[in-house]
Amino acid sequence: MILNDIFILMKQELMLLGIIMILLIIKVGKDWSNESLLNLINALLLINVMSGFMMPAEGFLFGDMFKTNSLITLEKNILNIGTLIISLQSYSWLKNHKHLIEFYILMLSTLLGMFYMVSSGNLLMFYLGLELSTIPLAAMANFDLEKRKSSEAALKFIISSAFSSGLLLFGISLLYGTAGTLSFTEITSHLTNTPLQIFSFVLILAGFSFKISVVPFHFWTADVYEGSPVAVTSYLSVISKGAVLFVFVSVLYTVFKPLAEVWYNMLFLLSVLTIVIGNLFALRQDNIKRFLAFSSIAQVGFILVGISGSSQMGTASVIYFVLIYIFSNLGAFGVVSLVSAIAGKENISDYRAFYKTNPFLSWVLTIALFSLAGVPPTAGFFGKFFLLIAGAEQGNYILIAIAALNMVISFYYYLRIVKSIFMDPNEHPIEKLTIPMMPKIALFICLAGIVVIGLWSSIYEYIYSLSTGF
């Protein structure tokens, strides 16, 4: 009976584990050519995405260590789709890489860690998932083995993430001391706003803020994003950040619910700082990966505005925004990774007159940037709109006003790139790129996602109906 439960409730995790096992067996066995391997892996990932939608189930396993319900299944499906898109996009970079299988094994084990983190019902499980999702990522950041930049990025990532998990653990240990249990549901009943509990909460919040790069803890972000290979950068900025955000929302709304007044003020301060500083630094970047890093910091600030709303709409708008953010950010990163892999150029000034030579890629990049900025017909507008409405439910209009003003500022730097693509003259534009089939499919998926999610409102209603209230 229990075995039956495990197979149904943990099907997404078991599926990933199966793919990792297949890859390990291939690694030990005879050599495959890179192209056939990539085809096989992408097919497996596609099966993985599709199997996620089948047989949804709800329940608890191992006491309450592992829980799953339709919202958590949806979050895992979102992460699965993002991973498939990244895998398709990095085709041209991985085709010539010597350690292709190791890359996928590391990537899928981080995804497995995120799955366990998302469905954790216990602080121990949560911590294990978090570590499983960060340690292999550091190894992935070092995947351009001979480049010095890449290992610098990996070093900065592993050291800052180890430090942040140290802070998080110290907070967890103090929380254990005051509550006497590690299970999420039991902790809530023991929270009584004592100073020690608030201190432990601050440490846990700091640990989370490191992982989603909220402003006072954001220093590693730009360096790691610039140094790592583009595939890893997009994975870091979308999948790993999205998974931590999902957990962050559920932990704040369920476990730390008795401390709501305390964390509302903290979130207010953090979100204002994050939006303003992320925007100011994004204004002055030349490297397009660094630029996208700071723009992603500013986006996290908007997400914090939505979280501070603390309502059913808060959960729904965050998940909806992460879904949109995956498509729009991956659209931008897809073009950047193609240009970087084939032409080897990563500066914004290299993109001048990009439209003359590569009209299709220019349109993809433009629509993705419009969606990131929040221009109405694209999905990004609705994402930010719902986030701000969720934040406004608390009645604190200063926060909403600051966020809205910063949206206007962010238009400047997003449109600056669009302007240089279409209008600026350039004697030596990037030559015409031939796009391989798989990245092309990925770009079409991103485009479709940006347009369809914006126009088809029942997706938001579906997410809203699944999400739990405050």
Binding site: L124, Y127, R148, S151, I158, I159, F170, S173, Y176, L182
Partner: protein
């Protein structure tokens, strides 16, 4: 024989935590930074074991958590040292001041 009070143990673990933090921010050698992180993690271990023994002896949650922290710290150190070795090949130094190719 008198038992050592819980506050004494918590004092040791908090001191260890802040010593680790101080080392993390002031040391310039990558290996020493890793050692500082280990100090932080060990202070957490002391906390867990002490809380478990003194306050909640009926369950073993804290001790289990400690075992997991020890094994994960080992994995983390292994990956970090692999990265440092890879870095040493191109940099010929383990000083973090040299890692300055990426800057604002």
């Amino acid at each position: 024989m008198n038992e050592i009070p819980l506050t004494h143990i918590l004092f040791v673990s908090t001191a260890l935590f802040f010593i680790g933090m101080y080392g993390f921010f002031t040391r310039r050698n990558m290996i020493t930074i890793l050692m500082s992180i280990e100090l932080i993690l060990n202070s957490v271990n002391i906390n867990f074991v002490a809380f478990n023994k003194y306050l909640f002896p009926q369950n073993l949650d804290g001790i289990f958590f400690t075992i997991f922290i020890i094994s994960i710290a080992a994995a983390e150190a292994a990956v970090a040292i692999a990265i440092i070795i890879n870095m040493y090949r191109s940099l010929h130094s383990v000083d973090v001041n040299e890692t300055s190719e990426l800057k604002f």
